[in-house]
Symmetry: C2
Subunit: 230 residues, 2 copies
């Protein structure tokens, strides 16, 4: 096909579509990583934890691939205005996604350690927190591909719920540790898992904030500082 203007426009649209599609695929892999890490925790499944750690390289590989694709499109097409912002937003979002993948790996590492000791207590709030974080992640990416600021704003509100769960888990584990110092080592590991999930929710919040900035050109990040409230 000749390199007519219409053809170039069509190619460019196809490239933007491909970027969005790959970001969603990366998001899907990351979401699966979170789900598996929590399944491995609840079911004390050492093999699943190990497999999830191994699979992280697929996430990392796809992040690099999208990064390269974005650079290529920037260089070849020299987009302006909203297309430019879409691509630079994608470049930022995939960094958050890759780090969420790292958090799932961290959960799995703690699971491997916890599986060498006897169980401390059944997990109730941690799976709830993980589900909330996964939903936030999914919504923030849907907001990205659809330029949906309402959905992005919803994510910011949900982050408060995750923070509250994290505080609740912290208080409960503190009580365990105070009452029986033998639980300290295990309680700390569970506490770290709770922190990893809180950070996953923070990354989803970051994505949602970047999306609002992409669409409205308005900075909503930093208006409410991300408080670490252990």
């Amino acid at each position: 096909m000749p390199d007519t203007h219409a053809h170039i426009v069509k190619q460019f649209e196809e490239e933007l579509r491909l970027i969005k599609e790959k970001v969603l695929r990366l998001g899907g892999l990351v979401e699966e990583g979170i789900a598996n890490s929590i399944k491995a925790l609840v079911e004390r499944d050492t093999q699943l934890a190990e497999r999830t750690i191994e699979n992280d390289h697929v996430i990392n590989g796809l992040e690099v691939e999208i990064d390269e694709l974005c650079l290529k499109v920037l260089a070849l097409r020299q987009p302006a205005a909203s297309d430019l912002r879409l691509i630079t937003t994608a470049i930022k979002i995939i960094t958050d996604l890759e780090r969420i993948g790292d958090m799932a790996v961290n959960v799995c590492e703690r699971v491997l350690e916890l599986n060498e000791e006897s169980p401390l207590k059944p997990y109730i709030d941690i799976p709830r927190m993980a589900l909330a974080a996964q939903r936030m992640l999914k919504e923030s990416l849907d907001a990205f591909v659809n330029g949906d600021t309402d959905l992005a704003t919803k994510v910011l509100v949900e982050d408060d719920f995750v923070d509250e769960l994290n505080r609740q888990i912290f208080r409960e584990l503190l009580t365990f540790m105070m009452e029986d110092p033998n639980t300290i080592s295990r309680a700390m590991k569970i506490l770290f898992i709770s922190k990893y999930l809180e950070r996953i929710a923070d990354h989803a919040t970051n994505i949602a904030e970047i999306v609002v900035f992409m669409v409205k050109g308005k900075v909503i990040r930093h208006t409410k500082p991300q408080q670490e409230s252990y």
Copy 2:
């Protein structure tokens, strides 16, 4: 002056210089934030902690300013190859810098809480860890502006030292908690501060990895996964 080609090239060079300069200025502010948060911890200086929290909006404002500048230069100049990569690298780096700023705020929040209780122990390893993290930050940004991959690689090695200090602090505080449950609440807060510093070092490592990628086009991130070793 007429908009000759030479003039445009000169303007573009000036813009690239400005981006680098602003990234360094942002880095300086962030470094100061870390230093002040640890000074506030060691000297139990509540006012300094509060002032550092307040000053975070300057960091956030400068990040947004650089982000806008990068987008503007991308749209106006449509740079190729290494210039393009420099700008997209800057876009990524400032996200890490802004989040390091948030970590310093988190340190200060824990300081405010710790100052309401009696001191647990003198701080020795935490200031050492903070100094190492600050040095890593400075080196990673120098590596960015000079395209210096040797310096960037040095940062990766230094991260191991910070991780080791973090593990050491963890073990020591665990002993405190085991021996006297009354120390648990304070020890946890100090432990979180140690984690924040470890995350600052991780962000500096991320910056260094991105710089190597910028210069060599070679991915060195993810070859050694960033292990959370509490």
